[in-house]
Amino acid sequence: MSAQARPSQLFKNLNAKIASIPMILTALVVFVGGTFWTILYSFTDSKLLPRLRFVGLDQYERLWSAPRWLTSIENLLIYGILSLIFSLVIGFLLAALLDQKIRFEDTFRTIFLYPFALSFIVTGLVWQWILNPDFGVQKVVRSLGFDSFVFDPLYNSDIVIYGILIAGLWQGTGLIMCLMLAGLRGIDEDIWKAARVDGIPMWKTYLFIVIPMMRPVFITTLVIIASGIVKLYDLVVAQTGGGPGIASEVPAKYVYDFMFRAQNLGQGFAGSTMMLLSVAIVIIPWAYLEFGGKKRV
């Protein structure tokens, strides 16, 4: 689609523009509109209902002096980085394993994918049980004779976030595998043949030929994982409720709790503005690299 001048710019690609109306409306009205609405009200002292009574930066001052918010940020960073790495690695490895012309591929794929069918609430509940020291893994291992065995991630402030990570990965990696598999299957068989003829080892073929070819899939996957991380809420609620104490709090939960439980919309909006800001900091440079400057044809 070269951008050479045509009689009328507006009617060029008319069908595409018409087809994009829902997208344009959603982007402008809901996402841009909603974001500005949120930012605007984060400067007010809105309680239960949004009210335009401005209080300057008060909400932000309170936010950044709240121990719970600071813990939330720290948790999100740990969870986010680990979840990103493990989801990608496990997802890709599973896909690569399934792509080895194995038998029972269907069965294995279904096994890895089924947790995704269950909601986070359920995932949290089940893992809460399994990790419970009184009747879960710890008890079973102890009953085998290892009396001093300790495995209670959900009741230990220092490692609780890893307990949540275990459940999160269990639920989400199947989908990542599915996406990766779709990507791998899009790779031409000839590439493999050529690599074999040239005597390139398998791991090298994956690392230097296949993965670079799967760039679009990786971007999709990255966005799905990252957006899931930012929005992490239900799983924490179901598994630990933010506990022990405030050790497993996350930003989305802070926002939700202050908006609806504490009925302090202003504080909740200040939290979500900070979340959106950090997302924008990541996305804008990416968008610039992806679309800015060069014209792709």
Partner: protein, 410 residues
């Protein structure tokens, strides 16, 4: 284009199908457990008997789950006929925004002011001299539940007050029991603190902190004693490893824990486990020190609607909720105390009778739901739950932060 057409067709079809019958009244609430549902069934029965129809809209999970839904419905311009809230300050702003119906006329006709157990309950429904809600019950927090079996096993007498429990704690520990079961949810730890405050500190201290919001007192020597008792509670709760309050109650029932501080709703758990008050378990209102009960509880609010028939049905429902017969039937099933003082609960069990006796003596005090905003309450929740889980926080540190919250409280 096609898209919008479908939309229009869709909305037209739905507009037709929702032409409501005047006397159908949709009521939303979060009473979903067995006993609660049975209790709310009494309301529905009484309301249906007036020729109207109760359409049930139950949503489990108070606070976080149910309230945003209710508030959205009301602000979305498509409200339900009536909705439950905890009485207190949760619906304040909805009233101020003019979204709620004024019930003053119904209240005056029913002489609510004269028959109510505690006038403070009605105060919480009153804004600018008008009454906006119908309180239906009183739940109180100030109960210490004790397992008779646990103390028998440890070879000590069942404590008669808080201090005896603290003294007996080492004996319980020796037998591998948790002296005080406390669930992991933040509201439970706050509950423990507030009960210690009213039970050990007494009414004056409690009101100075939560009603007058006096930061000096909150940071002072009297409250320091409460924090030191809270430190004992933290010590005794070590090893609880449970989340939900009823799991903690279950530890008391099974004798794995000595006791639990929890509201009167815990009684339902003992009943279901077929435990008998006095022989299997004991209850100490006000920790056996200051016999004060707070007036937590539920109330119904009625969103303003244009439809005259619905409006009339709303009045009818408010009247029915407050009627003596409904009050008795409802509260017996709910395990809470009735809102009226002119009814007789002969069927109540021992613990409930203790509560009624305190009620008769006027030992009631406003609940924190009524005194502080949900915002402040959430901040206190965060502090308390952190205190319980993190031993590096000293009682002094916690008190300092508490005083700070009270200072900025509204």
């Amino acid at each position: 284009m096609k898209f919008t057409k479908t939309l229009l067709a869709g909305s037209a079809a739905i507009a037709l199908s929702t032409s409501a019958f005047a006397t159908d009244l949709e009521v939303t609430h979060w009473w979903t457990s067995g006993g609660e549902a049975a209790a709310v069934g009494e309301f529905a029965k009484a309301f249906d008997a007036t020729g109207n129809k109760w359409v049930d809209g139950a949503i489990a999970g108070s606070g976080g789950t149910a309230r945003p839904i209710m508030i959205s419905r009301i602000t979305g311009g498509d409200p339900m006929g009536a909705t439950q809230f905890n009485h207190g300050r949760q619906a304040e702003e909805l009233v101020e925004a003019g979204l709620m119906k004024d019930l003053t006329a119904v209240a005056e006709a029913g002489k609510w002011k004269d028959v109510i157990n505690e006038i403070g309950l009605l105060d919480s429904c009153t804004i600018d001299g008008k009454i906006y809600c119908a309180p239906v019950n009183i739940h109180s927090w100030q109960w210490l539940w004790l397992s008779n079996k646990a103390f028998a096993d440890a070879g000590v007498a069942v404590p008669a007050n808080w201090n005896e429990l603290v003294a007996a704690a080492p004996k319980l520990r020796e037998k591998g029991m948790v002296p005080l079961a406390v669930g992991g949810q933040p509201w439970q730890t706050t509950g423990v603190f507030n009960v210690l405050m009213s039970g050990l500190g007494g009414k004056d201290l409690y009101l100075k902190v939560y009603d007058a919001k006096d930061a000096e007192v909150a940071g002072g020597a009297d409250v320091a004693k409460i924090f030191s008792a809270l430190n004992d509670a933290r010590e005794m709760s070590r090893g609880s490893n449970v989340q939900d309050w009823n799991q903690a109650t279950n530890m008391v029932i099974t004798g794995k824990a000595g006791g639990q501080i929890m509201g009167d709703w815990a009684q339902g758990e003992f009943q279901i486990a077929e435990q008998v008050a006095g022989t299997d378990y004991s209850c100490l209102p006000g920790l056996g020190v200051n016999e004060l009960l707070s007036t937590n509880g539920d109330a119904f609010y009625f969103p303003k609607v244009d439809n005259a028939e619905i409006s009339a049905a709303q009045d009818k429902l408010a009247e029915v909720l407050f009627a003596p017969t409904t009050q008795v039937a409802f509260n017996l099933k709910k395990g809470s105390l009735p809102i009226r003082k002119d009814v007789d609960l002969a069927a109540a069990n021992d613990c409930m009778k203790k509560g009624l006796a305190i009620l008769a003596k006027g030992g009631l005090v406003k609940s924190t739901d009524q005194l502080i905003s949900p915002d402040t309450a959430t901040q206190i929740d965060d502090l308390m739950t952190q205190f319980f889980s993190d031993e590096s926080i000293t009682p002094e540190d916690a008190q300092k932060r508490f005083a700070g919250i009270i200072k900025s409280a509204d």
